[in-house]
């Protein structure tokens, strides 16, 4: 079957409607902090069954990739990430909004998502089986090597380098050990608080450090000193030619990088967005703009997280193995409608398989059409004076932190992170490396301990495969490079 016949299945009115419902719910899911795609998909599982396999799966997939579109909206407008994968968009997106370029940032993020989503499906169609096979070559030892490289590359995210960034990443790694041991069993550092067993929620900490931290910062400034947000005029709503020209290469780089990172088990979309930001920053011709609103810093990560969400479907479609919680719900949906994911999917249910693939092309177009007109509405939010907007944002953060896991503990974590965010801002510590530590910590710890158990005490397992060796060589080269190029890196700023 070809793309054309795939589109034919997806374009029947019934499937088209299912696709629309899916991407609409997905966009909303993305916009609301705390409500993630996994929870939204689980809520609609009963409807999936009633729709039948093809339409049902089209709808579920729509929620899944649609969520990556909306996530950036609140990051850009009010510095509160709607999804973990949009945390890094706060860095440049919110700065752009403060400069009056909210519309441009939102539009570029929608465009980037579209580019990545569409190219992602093409790559998925072409390379799914070999990539799935490659993903299987990664065992715990290889994943550990990968996280070592990841932490080294991403430690320099802020570009300021310095001991402060390393401290923040170390703090993030430490905080990630709170809660249930990732290998199961025992609570750690919970001080006998049963509700703390969930650990420190990533979305609560991100909303606290960025959103609440910003609110407190604004509140601490004398009113006269707060710069009013530049007035947004209608013709400023959309990106300029110059901005598009700068954003396009970032989108393509982000897509490719994100797609590959999508094959990593765990929160791959979040990692992909961080990695893309880091890449954009080091390759940009406008380095000085990073930290003050560089459009590349929105275009790259927002493309990367979409591409990663498509890449993450490969292990599911080719192997039937879910690598992330949201994908696990998609798998559940398949089982509920009687479809076996994995190698048999295409053979036993070609209609559903090609219907979903076809619908992803159409869904991305729908999402673009859905999101671009919304840019104007969203951007007008930045015209609301802070003193009215910020209380609403705080409420939004509280609800979001609670909704993530229906756990009141997360709300306290979020508020505490808010105070920490304020202090970090005051004393010029960058919160982003902390979040990288928090997201990489569990993967790093899990793979390290698994490899140690599997090697039965023999450390040779860490260098047993050429993949691991290549990773460590890369890590070593990076460290040497950083030391040579920036001797400042090991000294405090």
């Amino acid at each position: 079957m070809s793309v054309l016949s795939a589109l034919e299945i997806a374009l029947t009115p019934y499937n088209l409607l299912a696709c629309f419902v899916g991407v609409l719910v997905g966009t909303l899911t993305g916009v609301l902090p705390g409500l993630g795609p996994a929870a939204a998909m689980a809520l609609l599982l009963p409807l999936t069954v009633k729709l039948g396999p093809t339409a049902g799966l089209i709808m579920l997939a729509g929620i899944y990739y649609g969520a990556m579109y909306g996530g950036s909206t609140t990051s850009i407008l009010v510095n509160v990430p709607g999804e973990p994968a949009s945390v890094v968009t706060c860095l440049e997106g919110y700065k752009l909004a403060q400069k009056g370029r909210a519309g441009a940032a939102l539009a570029v993020s929608a465009l980037g998502s579209f580019v990545a989503g569409t190219i992602g499906i093409v790559l998925l169609q072409l390379f799914a089986p070999p990539l799935a096979k490659a993903a299987l070559a990664f065992g715990p030892a290889e994943f550990f090597a990968l996280t070592v490289v990841g932490v080294i590359v991403l430690s320099n995210l802020s570009g300021k380098g310095g001991i402060k960034a390393f401290l923040m990443i170390a703090l993030g790694l430490l905080l990630s050990t709170v809660g249930l041991d990732p290998l199961g069993g025992v609570n750690r550092f919970t001080f006998n608080q049963p509700l703390a067993g969930t650990g420190l929620s990533f979305i609560a900490i991100a909303a606290g450090l960025f959103g609440v931290g910003e609110i407190l910062w604004l509140a601490s400034q004398p009113e006269e000193k707060i710069e009013p947000v530049a007035k947004v005029r209608l013709r400023d709503l959309y990106p300029t030619k110059e901005e598009i020209k700068r954003a396009l290469p970032s989108m393509f780089r982000g897509t490719l990088l994100g797609f590959l990172i999508g094959l990593i088990p765990g929160p791959s979309a979040t990692i992909a967005s961080f990695a893309s930001y880091s890449l954009e920053k080091s390759t940009s011709k406008h380095k000085e703009e990073f930290g003050n609103g560089a459009i590349e810093g929105v275009a790259g990560p927002e493309s990367a997280n979409n591409a990663a969400s498509v890449g993450a479907m490969i292990p599911l479609l080719s192997l039937g193995i879910p690598f992330s919680p949201a994908i696990a719900v998609l798998l559940s949906g398949m089982l509920l409608v009687g479809v076996t994911p994995g190698p048999l999917f295409l053979r036993e249910h070609p209609d559903a398989f090609w219907g979903v693939i076809g619908s992803m092309y159409i869904g991305n177009i729908m999402l673009l059409i859905l999101n671009l007109p919304l840019v104007g509405i969203w951007a007008s939010i930045t015209r609301i004076p802070y003193k009215y907007l910020m209380p609403v944002v705080l409420l939004f953060c509280i609800v979001g932190a609670y909704a993530d896991n229906n756990n009141i503990f997360d709300v306290w974590v979020m508020l505490a992170a808010g105070v920490a965010g304020y202090l970090m801002r005051k004393y010029e510590y960058d919160p982003a490396p902390l979040l990288i530590g928090l997201v990489m910590g569990p993967i790093m710890e899990r793979s390290l301990r698994q490899a140690l158990i599997m090697g039965r005490g023999d450390l040779a397992i860490f260098v047993a495969s050429p993949i691991s060796l290549a990773m460590y060589a890369m890590a070593l080269a990076l460290v040497v490079f950083m030391l040579v190029k920036k001797p400042r890196v090991m000294s405090a700023d």
Binding site: L43, L180, D181, G333, T340
Partner: protein, 336 residues
């Protein structure tokens, strides 16, 4: 002046909002009225909330949602499902335990009530709840790669005995039920494995496929796609009889290994819930267990229907608690 007034106003609204949140979390715990309701009670008169201890879309969650849907119809009030995950179930149990024992807060219970307590993740055990009804059991399967040299479980065990510790067997976490089953298998056969914990999310099977480990222990439903595609072979399952969806896979019992330990699921309420309310709930869930729609659904999910009423369920949980505690002691995971 007006600006300042507005600033104060918004600040106080923010504080009031915070206060409400704080009050909301504190207030829910208090006031359980001690009156015994002897006469026929009106129950339920409002929606019931079912706490699920595992993530949306997990095996526990899917069964729970089906049960909630069907039981809601029987009771004439909807049952809403809320996922409260974390600490191997302890987060959700702690929440439900603190709710009013009036039957409107129920929990989708499982062996996790035993394992979470003994692992030291909560300071109360199964006696903090009253069983309402057991509904399903799920066997645990030991799987290997399709081209693995072992024809059946006996050959596999034979090899493991000859090469102690050489067979690496993945599970869903230290002290998890799949881990304990693999340990019980060692006890019953004298084999010795190296247990590799993988946490939730199906990654053990990808390491089996990738050849990094030799076998894995998990619920059969989690690996149905790989089994159907012929990439993975299940050597044996626990439980008393074969699963309908896996008619060719023998039980350990058939193969001469007396290992039947299965994962049970059911409904529980905070201790102190009136008998009459428990009775009413028990009747509704009994009807769910007899419902052909549920039977079919459970079958597809790799689960067996096993109904136990409130009294027998309580007894059963107490027995299971002893058995699992002994296994956890053995792997050094028993903290209390």
């Amino acid at each position: 002046m007006i600006k300042k007034f507005l600033a104060i106003l918004t600040a106080s609204i923010m504080l009031a909002g915070l206060g409400l949140v704080a009050a909301g979390c504190g207030g829910a715990q208090g006031s359980s009225n001690g009156k015994t309701q002897e006469q026929k009670i009106e129950f339920p008169t409002k929606p019931i909330e079912m706490t699920v201890l595992f993530a949306p879309g997990s095996g526990a969650d899917l069964l729970a949602r089906k049960v909630a849907e069907l039981a809601g119809k029987e009771l004439g009030q909807p049952i809403t499902v809320v996922n409260r995950t974390g600490a191997g179930g302890a987060v959700g149990y702690s929440y439900v335990k603190e709710q009013k024992p009036d039957g409107y807060s129920i929990v989708w219970n499982s062996n996790s009530i035993n394992t979470a307590y003994h692992a030291g993740n909560m300071n109360f055990n199964y006696t903090a709840f009253s069983g309402v009804a057991e509904l399903t059991t799920e066997p645990v399967s030991i799987a290997v790669k399709a081209d693995a040299p072992w024809k059946d479980i006996n050959e596999f065990i034979e090899y493991a005995k000859k090469n102690p510790g050489k067979v690496r067997i993945g599970n869903s976490g230290n002290g998890s039920f799949t881990h304990l089953v693999a340990v019980a298998l060692e006890n019953k056969t004298g084999a010795k494995f190296t247990h590799v914990p993988f946490g939730q999310g199906g990654l053990a099977i990808s390491s089996v496929l990738g050849g990094q480990i030799e076998a894995s222990s998990q619920l059969p439903a989690e690996i149905m796609s790989q089994v159907k595609a012929g990439q993975v072979r299940i050597l044996a399952i626990t439980g008393e009889e074969r699963l309908k969806i896996l008619p060719d896979v023998p039980t350990f019992k058939e193969k001469g290994i007396p290992l039947t330990l299965s994962l049970w699921r059911g409904i529980a309420v905070p201790a102190g819930t009136p008998e009459s309310v428990i009775k009413k709930l028990e009747e509704a869930f009994k009807k769910v267990a007899e419902n052909p729609e549920f039977k079919k659904f459970a079958e597809d999910m790799g689960a067996n229907i096993e109904f136990r009423g409130a009294k027998e369920f309580d007894q059963f949980i107490a027995e299971q608690d002893k058995e699992l505690a002994a296994l956890m002691e053995q792997v050094g995971m028993k903290k209390q």
